[in-house]
């Protein structure tokens, strides 16, 4: 056995044959001593690759719970209208809920700037990393944004994820609710093409509904596809442009926050 061999209950197997006739604990070597490798040893690991992210997500979640904040991870494809819808959301929630935004953006502060002046605390996370930028927010990125938010003075934090229908679905950030903005300009088949994302969400805001008369979009076919991948999903039909459905979405957010505080009154702000 090599000196780094573990005996901590993690199984191991050898795919080469040699005698283990010396007692364990002795610092001996096998094979020749020329540095030429005579074999390999297989060591069992069985470790989940997202454990590190999920551990940080749990820390975020604990901070949110301690502050009595309800956190929504808002995801969508690029251009689905997340920021426009958020602007309308902030206008309506002003005076009702104290809102903070974690804004994920690969390179710019454009979206953060669009959200300024609406009464919300905004913390921007640029995800550029030298390789063209990350395509999602992960738990450590959200954690890095938290010191710039007055969590104790907030009721609701909306994490505006990077526009992408693939990667954000894989990363928990500590949220209580996952919500998606889907624009009807994206086509009816999207739930079937991106089932992991559409399955991971509790709620879909079907947005840009004001464009329906101008498109060949089949709303019923979209709902059939959506229910095929996520039968329980809740839906709001919205238009940031006309304001349709935004009141209902805001009422849902308020109710979700109230419900959370009722379930755990210890978290209600004093």
């Amino acid at each position: 056995m090599g000196r780094f061999h573990r005996h901590d209950g993690v199984g191991h197997e050898h795919d080469h044959e040699h005698e283990h006739d010396q007692p364990d604990g002795l610092d001996h070597e096998h094979g020749d001593h020329s540095g030429y490798q005579t074999g390999t040893e297989r060591v069992q690991v069985l470790e989940r690759i997202f454990d590190e992210n999920d551990h940080t997500a749990a820390l975020n979640r604990a901070d949110f719970d301690r502050a009595g904040v309800t956190v929504v991870n808002l995801m969508s494809a690029p251009g689905a209208g997340k920021t426009a819808l958020l602007r309308e959301t902030l206008r309506r929630l002003r005076g009702e809920l104290r809102v903070g935004i974690v804004e994920g953006d690969i390179e710019t502060s454009i979206d953060a700037d669009r959200l300024a002046g609406l009464g919300a605390a905004v913390s921007l996370v640029n995800t550029a990393n030298g390789f063209g930028g990350e395509c999602h927010l992960d738990a450590p990125m959200v954690r890095s944004a938290l010191p710039r938010l007055p969590l104790a003075e907030l009721d609701l934090v909306i994490v505006e994820n990077v526009g992408n229908l693939v990667c954000p679905a894989e990363f928990q950030v500590g949220e209580h609710v996952r919500a998606m903005v889907y624009a009807i300009t994206e086509g009816e088949e999207k739930p079937l093409k991106y089932p992991v994302m559409f399955r991971s969400t509790e709620l879909v805001l079907v947005n840009k509904l004001d464009l329906l008369p101008h498109l060949d979009f089949d709303l019923a076919a979209f709902y059939t596809n959506l229910r095929a991948v996520n039968p329980q999903v809740k839906v709001f039909e919205t238009s940031a442009r006309t304001g349709q459905g935004v009141d209902a979405w805001c009422a849902w957010l308020s109710a979700a926050h109230g419900e959370r505080l009722r379930r755990d009154p210890a978290q209600a702000p004093a």
Binding site: E41, L46, H136, L192, R227
Partner: protein, 112 residues
């Protein structure tokens, strides 16, 4: 392209378990419901491991099909498309029983 940051996570776990020994193969188990592209992951691994002690190691990926279990009629089935509806009773109260795996199962280390 989250494969790059995932490779960084894999590198951290592998280094911890290898404890300084030379790594030849990293065995991964990836469910079909994971948004991971195996070829991209392999390519990113070569980028991330280059110029590190993990250089020269490679990923071996075991792909796991997605499977669901119907909680109404107890029917089990493997999914070939992303339709989460029971093929037997047509119900939608199904749970995913396979396909969400994403873990490092084992390492092949050079004998010290």
């Amino acid at each position: 392209m989250h494969e790059l940051s995932i490779c960084n996570s894999i590198g951290g776990i592998v280094s911890k378990h290898a404890a300084g020994r030379q790594v030849q193969i990293v065995h991964l188990r990836i469910g079909k419901l994971r948004q991971i592209v195996p070829d991209t992951l392999v390519y990113c691994w070569s980028l991330v491991s280059e110029d590190t002690v993990l250089a020269g190691s490679r990923l071996e990926i075991e792909s796991i099909p997605a499977a669901i279990h119907c909680t109404r009629c107890d029917h089990d089935q493997v999914l070939t498309e992303a339709i989460f509806v029971c093929g037997s009773c047509g119900g939608s109260s199904v749970e995913v029983v396979a396909g969400e795996e994403f873990l490092i199962t084992s390492l092949e280390l050079a004998e010290a």
